[in-house]
């Protein structure tokens, strides 16, 4: 087996992983960094983020307001010290990206612009038209090339962490092109593998978002935290789930039902306004908007499309010039995937799974409970999103905590002796990965297991949930574990065998899906994006102002535990938007 010896290994080459790599190269140029990614970094899903990245910028904005919006937006399940650190560091990261060449949209004066976003009390979202994630990712990727200490293992599929002596000391990877195994020995490892939206049927996520990093950490005893909080983005294309950015609403787009009525006014988001108004109507938070869609559907007021029910996102009144300047990608997507001109026709949209708010439990420094393992970006739960993430906080998160993970992993690595030989741990992992490939007695088709998993998740872990529905999902998932053990692959080759890698991914996905479903079943209240239709339809701070921790129990269902939420200065209160939010905003200002 080939061995790569490094100081810090990073798994995942998206925004968080690249930002971490650069932070190490800048703060500790003497350390070797190995960036391991199953795709070439610029293919990572950060590329598909559209709307923007938060950072307090204008004279009327304050760090306190960003803090308040984030904590209230997360329905108080945020760790407040970590949110404080986050809001204090967002803007300098946006400036840093500007210095590295990110083409942020500009005002006539030459200063960068900010736009309105859902749940934010003022304009603070930096944007590069509607391709913000694309530009951030390419800026970070291209900038990373100038540091000689960063070496990349492009298209190496990480399949296990190597843990010895209670410490994470590297990883096992498969070189995709050849199918050969590589042991990467490292003094510290950073997990930055993104979310797990692909465990659901209709989602905005790229095919690579199968929860690998979450699954790897989880199997080594690191808890997955708050996994029941899955974000449904309210405006995506029916069927495909392709994302239509919240930036459309930040720029002034309307949502209407089949009667042409701006239905959000019926869901405590009014008054009706014609210009984009913070926390009001279309600029409410994502959980509330997706819930409003569900109610419209129940009332029979959605529009039937061949690919499912939808409402209309109207951009026509914004005019061709503004659309071309601010939302060119949305215009292109509408044309390509719907055959319509969004300047003259409404875009049919519906909610789809978008973001994994929970993740690998990590503290505010990005350290996990496993020494030597750090986590950042969507795969992590450092505690800033709570029960509902605000749009534009995740791109900022990957920069702020990617940098922090890099610096802290570098500091940790410096203190460690070189790793001992990890040959035995690696051989065991290699054998279990190869067993999937050589199985002769299997009967199950990979796609059929995957489709049953995604259907069960979409059925039971939806926008609204019931005990019976969630239990049914848990039962299906439990059965799939055994079916996956009987998978039979068509492809028994080693070189570029994406069916084999898909089977390993599905193993991670299934573990992550079970963590989500059991965490949801056990949270007997409604909070943020976890809303129940049964008797637990209200928030219960007495019992559940706590983080859920799902702990891996091999083939058995996860063990569910709870931990305290760090509340420093903003006590739990009612979460209000629309007219009612005015007072709260004024209080936060005071």
């Amino acid at each position: 087996m080939q061995v790569v010896s490094t100081d810090v290994a990073i798994i995942g080459g998206g925004g968080a992983g690249l930002r971490a790599a650069i932070a190490i190269a800048e703060s500790a140029p003497e350390l070797k960094v190995s960036l391991v990614s199953k795709v070439v970094p610029m293919r990572s899903h950060t590329v598909a983020a559209e709307g923007g990245s938060a950072g307090v910028t204008t004279d009327v904005d304050t760090l306190d307001l960003h803090f308040h919006d984030t904590v209230a937006g997360g329905d108080w399940l945020c760790d407040q010290e970590v949110v404080d650190y986050f809001v204090e560091h967002c803007t300098e990261e946006m400036v840093q990206l500007e210095h590295w060449g990110c083409p942020w949209s500009r005002q006539e004066s030459g200063h960068t612009s900010v736009r309105n976003f859902g749940g934010m009390s003022t304009a603070r979202t930096w944007f590069a038209a509607d391709k913000t994630g694309f530009h951030m990712l390419h800026t970070l990727f291209q900038t990373s090339m100038k540091y000689p200490s960063i070496s990349r293992l492009d298209e190496y599929f990480a399949c296990d962490l190597l843990v010895d002596d209670g410490r994470c000391q590297g990883l096992l990877a498969i070189e995709v092109a050849t199918g050969d195994f590589v042991r990467v020995e490292a003094r510290a490892v950073i997990m930055a593998t993104g979310g797990a939206g692909r465990v659901f049927r209709q989602n905005t996520n790229a095919g690579i978002l199968t929860g690998d990093g979450m699954g790897m950490a989880y199997r080594h005893g690191v808890a997955l935290r708050d996994m029941e909080f899955v974000q449904y983005h309210p405006t995506t294309l029916p069927g495909s789930g392709i994302l239509i950015t919240e930036g459309c609403r930040g720029e002034g787009g309307y949502l209407t039902n089949k009667d042409g009525y701006r239905y959000l006014q019926d869901y405590a988001l009014g008054p009706v306004v014609t210009e984009p108004t913070p926390k009001t109507m279309e600029l409410g938070p994502r959980d509330r908007l997706s819930q409003a869609f569900w109610h419209e559907q129940q009332k029979g007021r959605t529009i039937d499309t061949p690919l499912g029910p939808a409402v209309h996102l109207e951009l026509m009144h914004l005019g061709q010039k503004k659309l071309a300047e601010r939302l060119p990608f949305i215009m292109e997507l509408s044309k390509t995937f719907l055959g319509i001109d969004a300047a003259s026709q409404a875009i049919p949209v519906c909610p789809s799974v978008h973001y994994t708010m929970g993740g690998i439990a990590a503290d505010g420094t990005t350290a996990t409970a496993l020494p030597g393992l750090f986590a950042c970006g969507e795969c992590s739960s450092v505690g800033i999103h709570g029960a509902n993430r605000l749009g534009s906080n995740s791109l900022a998160e990957l920069a702020v905590f990617g940098k922090l993970a890099g610096e802290n992993a570098a500091a940790f690595a410096r203190e460690q002796a070189p790793t001992r030989s990890l040959e035995r741990a690696a051989s065991e992992s290699e054998a279990s990965a190869l067993a999937i490939l050589s199985r002769q007695d299997g009967t199950e088709r990979l796609a059929s297991i995957r489709d049953d998993m995604t259907q069960a998740m979409s059925d039971g872990i939806g926008i609204y949930r019931t005990a019976d529905g969630m239990q049914a999902t848990c039962d299906v998932l439990d059965g799939l574990v055994d079916r996956l053990a009987h998978v039979r692959l068509d492809d028994s080759n080693r070189a570029f065998n994406t069916e084999w890698l898909g089977a390993i991914e599905l193993g991670f996905s299934l573990d992550v899906a079970r963590a989500m479903a059991y965490s949801a079943l056990n949270r007997r209240e409604s909070r943020g994006a976890h809303v129940r239709l049964d008797e637990y339809d209200g928030r219960d701070d007495q019992q559940f102002l706590r983080h859920t921790l799902a702990v891996f129990e091999a083939d058995a269902p996860p063990r569910i535990e709870y931990s305290n939420v760090n509340i420093t200065r903003l006590p739990p209160a009612e979460r209000v938007y629309g007219a009612a939010a005015k007072t709260t905003g004024d209080l936060a200002n005071a």
Partner: protein, 251 residues
């Protein structure tokens, strides 16, 4: 499902472990109005032959993973639709001018090396501290490079480029566009470091002005325009070297 039809998709297969050369294999695939070429390939992999190998990821035309030759034309397979080829047959091959790794997956290493060679990052004589805020850049200054920053590195332009096909020492359309993207950025001061590559035989002078790269670009980057502007820059650079003490367009 309304309007369900079937189309024959002929796919190039090559397995480095068992095949001495590529061959074609045909699959019959059901489709409707919304089925992309990529979805057709996914149908084959899920239901007919799990060993079919191809790259894909975002399926919304921004990650640049899924480029293929579709009936001889380089295309993003997520952005091309089966309905457009029916009732004819569809032939899908790996992107031209790159070595095949397996089936429809090609080796992208050469492009990544070329990308790195153009120094695709902001070069400053002196870094401005973050505490001093952002650089000022007017929308007009942005317009000088913005279009070239939209390149998604999908490699379609390399498959379209006859020059790269003849001699892959040529830096090629996407990398030259990104070179120009940084040279044209008002924040950058690294032009003189990039000009030797522009001027070299592997640089802009390798281009024979066919323009097919711009035609196949799924993001309207117009690499041919970037290459041409650099022919002008390269010529200026050549003459200025005789006229100015430090030489080159930067001085």
């Amino acid at each position: 499902m309304p309007d369900r039809r079937e189309i024959d998709i002929e796919v190039m297969r090559y397995n480095p472990e068992t095949d001495s050369e590529p061959h074609m294999q045909t699959f019959r695939v059901p489709f409707d109005e919304d089925t992309s070429v990529l979805m057709g390939l996914q149908y084959i992999k899920d239901h007919l032959d799990g060993s079919l190998t191809f790259r894909w990821s975002c399926r919304m035309a921004v990650c640049g993973s899924c480029g293929k030759m579709v009936n001889g034309v380089p295309k993003l397979s997520c952005k091309a639709f089966l309905r457009a080829y029916y009732p004819g047959k569809l032939r899908i091959e790996p992107l031209e001018h790159f070595p095949i790794v397996r089936d429809l997956a090609v080796d992208q290493t050469d492009f990544l090396e070329k990308l790195e060679a153009v120094k695709p990052w902001i070069i400053r004589k002196e870094e401005k501290p973050l505490s001093e805020g952002t650089y000022l850049q007017t929308p007009e200054e942005m317009a000088d490079y913005q279009q070239f920053s939209s390149c998604i590195n999908c490699l379609l332009c390399y498959s379209a480029c006859p020059q790269y096909g003849l001699d892959n020492a040529f830096t090629g359309p996407a990398a030259l566009s990104l070179l120009h993207r940084y040279n044209a950025d008002s924040r950058d001061e690294g032009k003189s470091e990039r000009m030797p590559l522009v001027n070299s035989e592997e640089g802009v002078w390798g281009c024979t002005l066919v323009g097919y790269c711009s035609e196949v670009c799924p993001k309207q980057v117009d690499p041919a325009a970037a290459v041409n502007r650099n022919k002008v820059n390269s010529t200026m650079d050549y003459f200025l070297r005789f006229l100015t003490p430090r030489g080159g367009v930067d001085s």
